[in-house]
Subunit: 321 residues, 2 copies
């Protein structure tokens, strides 16, 4: 099969690669599309090695058609249109993964668009609802609101009756987020935490944060009583000071969370939850895929460049024919 191979100069080349093996619990998917995540860019640059046992090929999600199933597979069948959460291997013609990580595509979403859903919705579901135990009516702060995760989180907050505030790099992005369902937003270079305090003087209940170090003390400062800060990335560095007085007296929680290296059983539970609780919102058009651009897999370099320059609003899809 063909797949993206990373050359020494970090160029992404569409060239021959080995067909993945499938185990008894796996499905083999003929990929229709994959979608770009910031983790792909970090992995390409050698800073995010795949977890043990995972494919070394980039790509944390895909959509496609099941070509073959392992002998223990119970709930998926050959010919089914699915989208899948992957530990790697999505930038390719074929990928294998445990059956529990592949679920039917939502009604009302095209097979190509469906490739943009697994990673961001799994991340948001895990972190907002499982880790942070987000409750109806709570207030949520979303950094990088126009990202794939941000645009998914805004819609999930709206669907589950929570108000969200976003930070983003430009006024255009803020405007987009507010149209999508965010209550308000602030440009990240314009003292965003001051505006957050004005938006919710009593603090925000949950923060979904891909920034880390740079924002840490400000995040704690705007976190409410019993607030939860979920750190999902460290784009703003790893180091900070911490005042434990606030953590203790406000009974706050700081939660570090990644999804890629988790057990198959954890990923399976998340995908099953998405299928049951979130996919119906696509059918009713309450939630929709937010796609910045759809490119061909041979243009993977261009796709990464768009993400590296923070130009995208929502997801960048790579179609594979």
């Amino acid at each position: 099969m063909k797949a993206i191979n990373i050359l020494e100069n970090k160029h992404l080349e569409w060239s021959e690669s080995d067909l993945p093996l499938i185990s008894d619990d796996d499905v083999l998917i003929k990929i229709s599309a994959t979608s770009v995540n910031r983790a792909d860019v970090v992995q390409k640059n050698g800073l995010y090695p795949p977890p043990p046992g995972a494919s070394s090929i980039l790509g944390l999600e895909c959509s496609g058609i099941i070509e073959k199933i392992g002998k223990n597979v119970k709930n998926r069948k050959v010919g089914e249109k699915v989208c899948a959460l992957l530990a790697g291997g999505g930038y390719a013609e074929y990928v294998s993964c445990p059956e529990v990580q592949a679920i039917p595509i939502p009604e009302g979403v095209s097979l190509i668009e469906a490739s943009s859903l697994p990673e961001v919705y799994a991340t948001c579901w895990l972190n907002l609802f499982q880790e942070a135990n987000l409750l109806k009516g709570e207030k949520v702060l979303l950094h990088a609101g126009a990202s794939g995760i941000g645009t998914a989180a805004i819609q999930l907050c709206k669907a589950f009756k929570c108000k969200s505030f976003v930070t983003a790099g430009t006024s255009k992005k803020i405007k987009f987020c507010c149209e999508l369902g965010a209550s308000d937003g602030a440009i990240r270079t314009e003292d965003p935490f001051k505006k957050i305090k004005e938006w919710s003087p009593e603090g925000v209940d949950v923060i979904l944060d891909p920034v880390g170090g740079n924002y840490f003390e400000d995040n704690i400062n705007v976190l409410s009583m019993e607030g939860r800060l979920v750190i999902i990335g460290l784009m703003g560095g790893v180091k900070s000071s911490i005042n434990l007085g606030s953590i203790l007296m406000k009974r706050q929680k700081i939660i570090g969370s990644t999804i890629r290296a988790r057990d198959v059983s954890v990923k399976g539970k998340i995908m099953s939850d998405l299928h049951q609780h979130v996919w119906p919102f696509f059918k009713s058009k309450i939630i929709k895929p937010i796609v910045h651009e759809t490119l061909n897999i041979k243009d993977a370099n261009k796709a990464h460049e768009i993400m590296e320059k923070d130009q995208n609003i929502g997801k960048i899809i790579l179609e594979i024919n």
Copy 2:
């Protein structure tokens, strides 16, 4: 009635005070004994004001006999021997509290001894099992292992099939903790974290920490994958540095937790859990009260001095006649 009043020079005086009011959901308890907590010493020194609505009299727990019940009280009755978790008011002849915070004393424990149980067992239950979701077979680090909370936590860990490691101030205290059920321990002035790493090279799953700032980075450093650090006090200061890289990649949680200012419903659930899941261990002698000394309430100053000098192993009881 008589109660402890704090004089200007911080002297504790047993003198006249108003009888507490009782609301429709409250019970009025004629107190047999109360028990000293470090929070009492901090409150006496003006650094831990009681939460809104709570008695200004010291004392976070008591045992005694129900003298009167409010008209909505369903599960407690006059004449019943109970022990109670209090938001304040235990250093007195009478105290009132919501009925859900008072539960029958465990079988096999005297009425006086029972005064030493509510605060430490409620704190340990809340933090080990509810906040940290401690699972059978996990490893627990307990700082201040010879304290009231430490000696309760050691026994709970043993009863629920978890291994514990303690830190404490003297070799005598470490020895006591190990006899009580801790797997091992280290003196806090003798590089304890090195010994903790040797005890569990893969890290500890849960840390119950009353220290805070001084220990924070070392705590994170010995915390396992998916480990939970529960901060319940700040005896070692509030400030620290934090490396978010470990928090994220190891999916760790930092949890700030206090019990005193929580909702009555939360306290009621904890006390009900203790009654159901922990009190049977007292009957079977798997868990026992650890009492350093029993003094008369008129010797409250002496009791505080013992705690201030870290001389106690387990609880100091103040009997009220």
